[in-house]
Symmetry: C2
Subunit: 485 residues, 2 copies
């Protein structure tokens, strides 16, 4: 399939859909935003909070969600670790890498921490299957976790400190993203890479123990290194972006820690970041409610390895299949009432390659009915060529229907014996309203690790992730997650 | 002096001034620009030219100017090599550096080529004394030369190939800069770091022998990594920008060479670089006249280590001093007719520290009359506290005068014996109209290297620079330019 087709799904479907339609704006203030010219000390206020926030202050729900975020991220990083994208990057960078300070999930090579942060960050975004902050369509974990896990392997860090830094990094990037979304994203920036640099810098700087002024400068150096344009979606360049954001944030923190200076107001100044990269600046999103509202709680995980636009239909298909023990040969027809974006973005009727399947509502529903899942394996070449799936996809009839929101679907399955089964989805599994269960996250992880790590090793990595807050040395996670040489 | 003050000069004075006022627009097309939506194959056209251009095709004047650019760049990189900015960066990055593949001018440390490119790039911009493409206020050499010299030390490159790559890199960044200037700069981007990434990627990719498609992707990966905001001017973050641009471009080329992909139209696509970072897109600046008009010929070198706004007055002062053998005690009063920007940007009457002197037209004229120069030494703490200079600066009387352009000055020196001397400057030395002579470039180089390298060593480095087109291995330049351990 062509590059442009893939862009249509991963980009527009997986992302543009999310904002106001799926993500809501629970925390957006209602009053008009102050004029940018009145902004003062935005960077410093954020830096001060990051420097002073303690693990003890984090609500239990925030710790728990951050742990789930981490487990999901480790799973996708393992899953992508042998994709061609990563093979190419590893072979390109190996000749320039520094000391073997940090490992790569699912692989045997070791790199200096800046290259390791890049490579794990790339790996975790290859399938576009990582976590999503729907309010901004930022994938929060990639830039932050990649940076601090690499750092933690070099300088041992406790699980509590790591979780604290992870939460602070996610807050930093998502709040900065909120301040400029959607204008910043609409104009062309890949917000995961542009806001992600701040998250990586804040989190890494937190672990390094930066002073407030050093943190201000780390954020300034981060502001100087935004990464990623939406035009690159559908190419390797897309997963490049969270990886490079991780490295850039780490680079910023490392320099600031030694006394490298920047400006005091790189976020809010007239020729600072928000004014340069966006026509919208709402600084309240950055500075209000620090320590009381947490963007981490809005993080979501994809149960299905494709754009969010198809998730309601896949969810309905799997529910009916499982409840009714449906066999493909029983099914005569599948009628779907869908939002217009479903056909606009995923209207491919006869996909020939696995990646094309991600742009076909016909394939997605058929494979979900046949296999009861929609992970990476269900979007493989094998899956889209399976004669049973191919036969069934021709029986899928999606119809754009007024009144059906993007988060919804209305499915009627007509059986060969004349019976009909009906399912309406209001919010698909994986949404903020119906989050994936811990058990579902484990199944996703296991599925991603299958073929990369032995099952027992994958279970051990999961177990370490779940017990993150009690680990003495978070480096144990990556040491457990590399391939055995 | 404060950070904000320094920003006022280095940023606004040294840069904003330059565009339409000083730089002219000799090559700007007169017809209205085509609508961005009509743009096609901009990235590919540029990539194809870079891949196919040969040293033999370069006009002699272009080779010569590129050689002068290189010599000037090596001089400023040596000059900045022991500034605190570089000390901090070296100590921060040393623990993560890869193999000792490449050296740093004026220092003994060795780094992997990506870190070496960063550090030499930082060093060369610390004094804001490097080359300037006045049409865009890009400092072209920093990102490009830093990247390819580091590469050349690892993979031996002939002087001809190096010069070819240097010219192609400068063309790439300046043409892309032309396409978006001034809007892109006005909104807040440090154009040296944003356009510079492309120059570094193109030049490094040329030396690596990328195919056309690989070069398209290298430019795409470069587009994903713009560096630098104007808000950082006055801090170490300013010289960070050309350094990081060098690394990012090199990083892009190294990945593309191994098959890492990007989009085909990262410059011109709807959500590509020019549309995302600028409200102006004139693609003719990128694709027209490739191989026939050269932006390299518009490159200029600063004879004085301060913002361009003061150059006409300094030039006049040195001319009168040298021609009339003036002694400070002879001078009763110095009247200056100046453009409004001179007082707006450099109106500091009593500077206390060296850097403050760069923002004082009073100091600049006085020290030029006393010492006959305005290099880094004339903007030192020593110089601004020299009682003779201090006494003379109080006799300098600048008056904003209608009809005096920013490139001009009108100076009248009244002597103690009642005589008056007059000098009017239309274009200061160092402008495109009155370029620095080779001998003046050598004096500047010698002055910068003084105190860093022994005089004989500095002469040898200069000699290698002048004979660049005959060198068998350009690595000889950096090997000759490092400090002896």
């Amino acid at each position: 399939m062509s590059r442009i087709d893939r862009r249509a799904l991963i980009g527009a479907a997986g992302l543009a859909l999310a904002g106001p339609t799926l993500g809501g704006s629970a925390h957006a203030a209602d009053a008009p935003a102050p004029k940018p010219a009145e902004a003062k000390d935005v960077t410093r206020t954020l830096a001060r909070w990051v420097v002073n926030a303690r693990f003890e202050d984090l609500p239990e729900a925030v710790r728990r969600e951050a742990t789930r975020t981490f487990l999901n991220w480790v799973g996708v990083a393992i899953g992508g670790s042998h994709h061609e994208t990563l093979d190419v990057a590893v072979s390109a960078l190996a000749p320039f890498s520094g000391p073997p300070q940090a490992g790569l999930f699912g692989r045997t090579e070791r790199f200096d921490i800046m290259n390791a942060a890049f490579l794990n960050g790339v790996s975790s975004h290859i399938f576009d299957y990582d976590d999503t902050h729907l309010k901004t369509v930022i994938h929060p974990a990639g830039p932050v976790a990649s940076a601090i896990l690499a750092y933690a392997e070099m300088h041992p860090v406790s699980g509590r400190d790591f979780l604290d830094a992870l939460v602070l990094g996610i807050e930093t990037e998502c709040r900065i993203g909120n301040a400029v979304y959607p204008n910043h994203y609409d104009v062309g920036w890949h917000i995961t890479g542009t806001a992600g640099v701040f998250g990586a810098a804040a989190a890494a700087g937190k672990l390094m123990g930066l002073t407030e002024q050093q943190m201000v400068f780390a954020l300034g150096l981060a502001a100087s290194q935004p990464v990623g344009l939406r035009e690159s979606f559908g190419s390797m360049n897309k997963s490049f972006n969270p990886g490079r954001a991780a490295t850039n944030g780490l680079f910023a923190a490392i320099l600031a820690a030694k006394g490298f200076t920047s400006s005091d107001g790189m976020l809010e100044a007239k020729r600072g970041w928000t004014n340069t990269v966006s026509t919208k600046q709402d600084y309240r999103e950055i500075t209000e409610g620090l320590g009381t509202r947490y963007e981490s709680l809005l993080n979501t995980y994809k149960p299905f390895a494709c754009g969010i636009v198809m998730h309601p239909a896949i969810d309905a298909a799997i529910q009916l299949r499982d409840e009714e023990h449906l066999k493909p040969e029983q099914i005569a027809r599948v009628d779907l009432k869908v939002h217009p974006l479903v056909l606009e973005l995923t209207g491919k009727t006869a996909p020939q390659a696995g990646l094309e399947g991600k742009f076909s509502i016909y394939h997605a529903v058929a494979v979900a009915l046949v296999e009861g899942a929609a992970g990476e394996k269900q979007f493989s070449d094998r899956a889209v060529r399976d004669p049973v799936v191919v036969a069934l996809r021709d029986k899928v009839v999606p119809v754009v229907t007024p009144g059906i929101a993007a988060a919804q679907v209305d499915m009627t399955v007509t059986l060969a014996d004349g019976r009909t089964l009906h399912r309406r989805i209001e919010h698909a599994i994986g949404s903020v309203e119906r989050p994936m269960s811990d058990a579902a996250l484990e199944r996703k992880f296991t599925d991603l690790a299958d073929g990369v790590l032995p099952a027992a090793q994958a279970r051990r990595v999961m177990s370490l992730c779940w017990s993150l807050d009690t680990l003495k040395d978070v480096g144990d996670v990556i040491r457990a997650g590399v391939a055995q040489a």
